[in-house]
Symmetry: C2
Subunit: 244 residues, 2 copies
């Protein structure tokens, strides 16, 4: 039996014998683009029930049904990690969301800083990028993309137990600090990537006053925000996450 | 005195009082786009003499001259690190070159593997991306982009002292190996990112037989080649490079 190569995120319960209805877009993709017919195989996941092998039960132009056969993998929980970043140009913002999803962030939060240029994002479009990245990278869950949130409000109400790895390009010349030794294993974390225009003085003060904040340098060169996001996620995953 | 914000790579010797001729493109950028006039300040670097503050001596539509004033930073050598990758779609190939330059690779080598789809690259266009990334990230030198090279030929003639960190998506489930302990400090290295179509059996055998090769897993998810490039460069810089 050949292994199904197509992976599809579905917002529906999965279990042995479970029938899963397809949306119009999913039907178009499976039957129009990928040319699957009845009996064709797909891997599905919903972020809760792991990954399942499913077969096409009905194939139509505007919809269809899958039938779940067997679980292929259990749910592999993502680390409790948020990625906060200030939206930049569209292509680079899309890229950050795709990369954060691939790198295993559980929640992606676009933040509005004082020097953020872009003031609107399309949350639904970014969420679709996160879904596509999860389908592509073999994850069994999908990062949640939040609505654009003001950084000052987020910091004013920062959860007491959540650590914050705060990447600041003004630290580019500083030596990389060692891993934070006093943080309990398994603590929730967030990574904050500085906006390309830098933080304001008020933002810097607020961050400096936050006891959960860990200023972190990402090498001696000044990285673009999208590079910094992948590099910071790598550093975090190696120190605290599921790359260890 | 305000600090010059514009950074420009020039292929010309730099030193106190040195006069630096500008190309037509550079003149267009400085005088047409950035609106600099005589006396305006620019930071220049050439990959050999560090970074210098220079002033516009002559500004014309088709050219101009800068006069070097003072060295602002010495040359900061890049680690002796190559990044080898199989070219993919144009935007993602551009991205890999930009990111490799930002992350401090000294040499970027597009490689043709058995399963590489793209068979041609524009070396000059990719080199221009590397220059732009160096200007942007504050580096004092520019990564060299090589012509497309066949992987089998490269491996057949692999330099004895150069270590090879070889990132293979088939290792995604394997635990990350510890840093290679027997490699001498300061040894030259290369990172090889697996092509999106995977390696062929012959390529796998050749890599397995190479004593300098270090198979490396990049976490439990399957990363796209562009994500893998940034993640692998981060991992390498933290273990062996200038992020320590």
């Amino acid at each position: 039996m050949s292994v199904a190569k197509i992976r599809l995120y579905v917002d529906h319960p999965l279990g042995a014998g479970q029938s899963v209805p397809l949306s119009r877009d999913q039907a178009h993709y499976l039957f129009g683009v990928m040319r699957l017919a009845a009996g064709g195989q797909v891997l599905v996941f919903n972020g809760r029930d792991g990954e399942w092998l499913a077969e096409v039960a009905e194939a139509g132009k505007k919809g269809g049904t899958l039938a779940c056969r067997a679980q292929t993998r259990p749910l592999q929980p993502l680390p409790d990690l948020w990625l906060l970043f200030a939206p930049i140009k569209k292509a680079r913002t899309d890229f950050i969301v795709e990369k954060a999803a691939e790198m295993g962030a559980a929640r992606i939060v676009p933040v509005q800083t004082e020097f953020t240029n872009s003031e609107r994002i399309r949350q639904d479009r970014l969420q679709a990028h996160a879904v596509e990245a999860a389908e592509q990278c073999g994850a069994t869950n999908v990062a949640e993309v939040a609505e654009l949130t003001r950084l000052d409000r987020l910091l004013a109400d920062w959860p007491a137990e959540r650590q914050l790895m705060f990447c600041d390009e003004s630290l580019a010349a500083a030596p990389a600090p060692a891993a934070a030794p006093h943080v309990p294993e398994g603590a929730p974390w967030a990574i904050l990537i500085g906006p390309e225009g830098g933080f304001s003085e008020a933002e810097r003060k607020r961050l400096a006053a936050l006891p959960q904040a860990h200023p972190t340098a990402l090498g001696p060169r000044i990285l673009r925000a999208d590079t910094a996001a992948v590099a910071a996620l790598t550093l975090w995953q190696m120190r605290h996450g599921d790359w260890r």
